[in-house]
Structure formats: structure tokens, C-alpha cells
């Protein structure tokens, strides 16, 4: 318990640091799945986002440009997925897998060209932390919650906005009807294909931003394998969060907490076999799904191709 109390502040700040990229990608996935598209290519999109944000940020010296470029690149990559799944009605899992193999290779190739043997290009810069006056002085929670980078604040601000969008906006409701029953949606005059492409754009933007967070907010470098399975964790948080923005935020924070716990254990119990600590976030994900991953939740037409002809 001593260990836990002593480590708590660090665990909490690690929580938000770990949670934000997962949160962003998972929110993207939320759009996708709400429109009936299971996109397991998040991992690949994040890799591209991380590289492009790093490279453009380094080149222009403006990290926000890097972020925007990462979002655009995320959309570009996800359009391959959209094209295959929406227009060609390919299997969604299959396309996602293909993206996961292709996209990191593109990112690595870009890295080879951009950095090559020029080590001066290998390190970029990071977004500054912004301490919100007074609030960041709150003991324990102050710094982790109110001492983050702007992109992290934006991610958390997005949560209620997206939740509100899906609940109250016409567009959000269209999304939901496409995910629940595309045939019925079509008869109501909703352009299913357009909604699905819109979902792909949103997913690409957010997953690209999630990847960008890794290379412009966490560490100022890009390295092959930087995403480290976060895209897959994001997929799990969507299920765990029961397809609601708020639930997803809670799930990614909980995941972040366990990741922080893993690091704290690694830091304090040096001599023990630390690989078992490293398992914690993944094992926790499974346990969480066992208890909270309902089998009937989620959009009904999720994962199914939509053939317009079969109306």
C-alpha cells in the first residue's frame, strides 16, 4: 500500500499520457462502428499519423501543421479502407488487416526518406504543457488533469461533443440508423454510402491525431513500431465503453491507469520479472471485457457489408 500511495501521483499522470492516444483513436473507431464499419486498421493509421506529424512538424517547425497533416494522412490511408469496404464491400476485418500491414511500411519508408542517414532530422519537438492556473494546484489530480498539452485537452473536450452529436444531432442519428439498419435508413432517405464515407473520414482524422499524439506530445521522435498495439487497445475500449463517447473515455482512462500501474511496478520492483507487469494492461483488457463487454451491445449491422442492390 505504501508503494501505491507513493506512486499514485505518477500513476495518475501516466494515466492521462497513456489514455489520450487511445482515446482519440477509439473515438475515431466510434464513428466508424456507429456507421457499421469495424475498422481494425487503427494501428496502421496511427503509425502513419505519428510519422507524418513528426515529419511535417519537424519540416515546418509548426506542430499544429504536423497535426493537421497527420489527420489528412490518416484520412488518406483510411480511404483505402473505405473504398474497399464501402464501395467494393470487402470483408472489413480483412481490409483492416491489410491496412495494418501496409500503413506502417509506408510510414517506415517515409521515415527512411525523410531521416535517412541525416540524424539531425531524427529528433523533432514537443507541444508544451499548459498549466491551468489554480486548477493545476489541486493536490494529486491537479497536475495530471490540468497540466496537459493542448491536444490532450482537445481530446477530452471532444468526448462530450461527440456524445452530444450522436444523441441529439440529425447527422448523429443518421449515423446510428446506418449502423443499426442500413436498409431502413436508406428508405428514410439517408445516403448510406455517404454516411459510411463520412465515418471513414472522421475515423481517419481522429486515429491520425491519436498517432500524432505519440510523436509530437509524448516523445519527439518517430520509430518503427511506435504504436505498440495501442490501436488494438482502442478497439477494445470501444466495446468496453459500450459504443458511447463517455464510456470510451472511462475505458481509456482505466486502461491508462493500468498502464501507469505497470510502469510504477516496473520502476519500484526492479529485480522482479517485469514481463509480468507488462502483461497487466493486456490482461486487464481481457478481464474488463469479460465483466463488461456485453455481447448484445453495439450497432446491429456492425461489420456487415452493405449492398445497395439488396435493398
Amino acid at each position: 500500500m505504501d508503494f501505491f500511495m507513493a506512486s499514485l501521483p505518477t500513476i495518475l499522470s501516466a494515466t492521462t499520457l497513456s489514455a489520450v492516444p487511445i482515446l482519440l483513436a477509439a473515438l475515431g473507431e466510434l464513428f466508424s462502428e456507429r456507421a457499421g464499419l469495424v475498422n481494425i486498421g487503427l494501428e496502421g493509421i496511427m503509425a502513419v499519423g505519428a510519422f507524418v506529424a513528426f515529419a511535417v512538424g519537424k519540416m515546418t517547425g509548426n506542430l499544429w501543421l504536423g497535426l493537421v497533416a497527420a489527420m489528412a494522412a490518416g484520412v488518406l490511408v483510411n480511404m483505402i479502407y473505405g473504398l474497399c469496404t464501402v464501395t467494393l464491400c470487402c470483408d472489413q476485418v480483412v481490409c483492416g488487416m491489410a491496412i495494418n500491414i501496409l500503413a506502417p511500411a509506408l510510414a517506415l519508408f517515409g521515415y527512411n526518406l525523410f531521416v535517412g542517414s541525416n540524424s539531425a532530422n531524427a529528433t523533432g519537438s514537443l507541444m508544451p504543457h499548459i498549466q491551468i492556473p489554480l486548477l493545476s494546484q489541486i493536490p494529486l489530480l491537479g497536475d495530471p488533469v490540468f497540466g496537459q498539452q493542448l491536444l490532450a485537452y482537445l481530446a477530452f473536450i471532444l468526448v462530450p461533443l461527440i456524445g452530444y452529436f450522436f444523441r441529439n444531432f440529425r447527422g448523429g442519428l443518421s449515423f446510428r440508423s446506418v449502423g443499426e439498419n442500413p436498409q431502413a435508413a436508406e428508405t428514410l432517405g439517408i445516403n448510406v454510402v455517404r454516411i459510411k464515407y463520412a465515418a471513414c473520414v472522421a475515423c481517419g482524422v481522429l486515429a491520425g491525431a491519436g498517432g500524432a499524439f505519440l510523436s509530437i506530445c509524448t516523445t519527439p521522435i518517430y520509430i518503427d513500431g511506435i504504436v505498440m498495439g495501442r490501436g488494438f487497445i482502442a478497439l477494445a475500449t470501444v466495446i468496453f465503453g459500450r459504443w458511447s463517447a463517455l464510456g470510451i473515455m472511462a475505458a481509456s482512462l482505466l486502461f491508462g491507469f493500468f498502464d501507469g500501474l505497470n510502469v510504477a511496478l516496473q520502476a519500484q520492483f526492479n529485480a522482479s520479472p517485469v514481463m509480468f507487469f507488462k502483461m497487466i494492461p493486456y490482461a486487464f483488457t481481457i478481464v474488463a471485457l469479460v465483466f463488461f463487454g456485453s455481447r448484445r451491445a453495439g450497432p446491429k449491422a456492425n461489420g456487415q457489408p452493405y449492398y445497395r442492390e439488396s435493398r
Partner: protein, 364 residues
């Protein structure tokens, strides 16, 4: 019959591909020219060739970059040699094939960056002795006694082993003299005997110059997850008051520096490894322990014909294999002078006793 159709298909799709390619090339054009300095095919003369195979990239800020810079230095001092484009991102499953591909090209020297190659190359090396006797293998960070039992014949193989005790002691002296909180940390990528040896000497040396110093360590941080470095270091700063870090884990060290900088670069310091990166863009780095992998010596031996027999090239302070890099101005002059005195003792082998190091090793 359908060829023309396919061609049409090709042009349109490849146009898409071209756009992507062109975009990334444009990126590169702005950023810096891709590495074309290698493999100079213009020199028609029979230069000897050297190839390097690595798991990461030559700009990883650590392990592989250190090897690449050692290789560049060796090439600069050896006119009769040229290097091929280094082979980056080599997966373990392809490590043997990668070596074989250079054997097939009759490359004179193949350098493998790290002992992971020692276990993968046994077959390739064995067959090369017969088919390509002029091909030599240099595997770094490998102890032939304990790690090359799979090799039937070591006639064309040598290894490089830096003097880990010297490296660790140099870093430890700096850390011990610079820490204000008597608390230092170390992150290693992989739990190797060399990692433990380095850390043991590091802590022993720090305690010798500053009694009562305590150490935190992690030997299994890997070489890629930079955010792990940030979080680990942050934890140590908060829980253990660590104010000096030394790293041996490439990208993870970079993450560690972010945490140090966030805690205040005037009071929290990093000792870099294995390349000299002191500079304005690294506010926390006060000095570096630099390793030169002595590829130049291997080249000399090949020229003289004395290379092989499973010999080990020891890289130490005597032959420039191990050294401290530049100091940043955060290290006061008097401390720099003291470090210099201790460094002389370390070089002479009179600084740390084996017992002192073993005492630390026992606690790991």
C-alpha cells in the same frame, strides 16, 4: 490477350502509387537528402567492402547510430575500403538471409550490431568458410566463450567487447559528482550480462565518489517504447528523487530525457550513450559515454591477414573504444577536473575493485 488491359490497370494504379511515392519523396527533399553517400560505385578500383546489419535504424539515437558512426569513422581512416548501404530494420527471422546476401556479394567484412546476430549466423558463417573464405564476420557485444558455442569454426569470425566496467565507471563518476539528491537511475533495453555489468560499475563508481548514493534501474525497457522511458523516469523522479539518469536503450532514453526536462533541466541531468549528443537541442544531457566499436581495428587486421580465430577486440579507454564525450556547461570546471582525475584512475584500472562491482551485482 489481356495484357493491354492489365497495362492500363497498371498505369492508373501505379499513378496512385506514384503520387504517394512522390509525396514522400517531396518530404525527403525538403528534409534532407537520403543516404546516398554509401556504396560509392564510382570508384572502379578494387576497394574492400564492408556491410553493416542492424535491428534498428542508423538514426535511433543510440545503439545502431553508435555502430554506424564507428563505421563511418573507420571508413574515413581507411582509403582502401568502402561501405555498402547499411541494412536497417532487420527482423530476426531475416537476419541469416541478410548475412547470406552479403556473403554472396563477396563483401570483405560483415558487421552484425549486437549479440542477437551471434545466434542467428552460425550456419551462414560455417558455410561461408568453405565457399567464401575472404568474407569476414564481426559481431559486436558478444563474448565468444559463452555465446558462440553453436559455431563449429571461428576462423573468419571476431567479436567486439567494450570494457563495460570502464563505461559504467565513467558514467558513475559523473553521476555521483552531479547528483544533488544522492539518487541516480539507469534504463537498459535488454537484460544482458553487459547491461548488468555496466550498471554495477555505474552504481559502484557513483557510491565511491559520493557515498550513500542509491540507484534505480530497469533492464527490460526495450529499445522502442519512448513513452515508457518518460513514465519510468517520472516515477523515479517523484518517488525516489532521482536527478541523474544514464541510459542504454536508444529511443527509450529519449523518452527519459523528456521527463528530466519536464522536471527542470537545470537540476535534472542525463548522461547519454553510446554517441556524443551534448548540444543545445538536448538541454538535459551533460555528457555522453561514447563507445567506438573498433571496426577500424578489424579492417587493419583483415588487411594484415590476422583477422579471425574467434578473437575478441576489446574496446577500452586505451584504444579509444570507450571515452567520455563533451561536457555541457552545466558541469562546473572543478567537477570536470575531478572527473578527469577519476577517468585516469579508471583507465589505469585502479579505481574500482572487482569486489566492489560484484557486491552490487549480487543485489540485482
Amino acid at each position: 490477350m489481356s495484357n493491354s488491359k492489365f497495362n492500363k490497370n497498371v498505369t492508373r494504379r501505379s499513378a496512385m502509387g506514384l503520387c504517394l511515392g512522390a509525396a514522400s519523396i517531396a518530404l525527403a527533399g525538403c528534409g534532407g537528402s537520403p543516404s546516398s553517400d554509401a556504396g560509392g560505385s564510382s570508384s572502379g578500383s578494387a576497394k574492400r567492402k564492408v556491410a553493416m546489419i542492424m535491428s534498428g535504424t542508423i538514426t535511433d539515437g543510440g545503439w545502431d547510430q553508435g555502430h554506424y558512426e564507428s563505421l563511418k569513422k573507420a571508413i574515413e581512416s581507411h582509403d582502401g575500403w568502402e561501405m555498402l548501404e547499411p541494412k536497417e530494420n532487420t527482423a530476426d527471422a531475416d537476419a541469416a538471409t541478410a548475412a547470406q546476401s552479403y556473403v554472396d556479394q563477396d563483401v570483405d567484412l560483415i558487421v552484425g550490431n549486437g549479440n542477437q546476430f551471434a545466434s542467428d549466423w552460425a550456419e551462414v558463417v560455417a558455410s561461408a568458410i568453405e565457399d567464401h573464405p575472404n568474407v569476414h564476420f564481426l559481431i559486436t557485444n558478444t563474448d565468444p566463450k559463452s555465446e558462440m558455442a553453436d559455431y563449429a569454426n571461428l576462423d573468419n569470425v571476431e567479436t567486439v567487447l567494450p570494457d563495460f566496467t570502464q563505461t559504467g565507471a565513467l558514467a558513475g563518476v559523473v553521476a555521483g559528482l552531479m547528483t544533488a539528491t544522492k539518487s541516480i537511475g539507469f534504463i537498459g533495453g535488454m537484460k544482458l550480462p553487459s547491461t548488468e555489468a555496466k550498471y554495477a560499475a555505474y552504481l559502484a563508481a557513483a557510491q565511491k565518489v559520493n557515498p550513500g548514493v542509491t540507484g534505480q534501474y530497469n533492464f527490460e525497457a526495450g529499445f522502442t517504447d519512448a513513452s515508457l522511458g518518460t513514465k519510468l523516469t517520472e516515477n523515479w523522479i517523484n518517488s525516489n528523487n532521482v536527478d541523474v539518469m544514464w541510459g542504454d536503450a536508444s529511443a527509450v532514453d529519449n523518452g527519459s530525457r523528456q521527463a528530466l526536462a519536464a522536471a527542470g533541466a537545470d537540476t535534472h541531468f542525463d548522461i547519454a550513450q553510446p554517441i556524443d549528443i551534448v548540444g543545445d537541442d538536448q538541454p538535459t544531457v551533460i555528457t555522453s559515454t561514447v563507445t567506438n566499436w573498433k571496426i577500424d581495428q578489424a579492417m587493419d587486421e583483415i588487411e594484415k591477414g590476422s583477422f579471425g580465430k574467434g578473437n575478441t577486440i576489446v574496446a577500452n579507454m586505451d584504444n579509444g573504444g570507450v571515452a567520455l564525450g563533451k561536457f555541457s556547461d552545466k558541469v562546473p570546471q572543478d567537477i570536470q577536473a575531478k572527473i578527469g582525475e577519476y577517468a585516469d584512475q579508471i583507465k589505469a584500472g585502479s579505481f574500482l575493485t572487482d569486489a566492489e562491482i560484484d557486491a552490487i551485482k549480487k543485489t540485482l
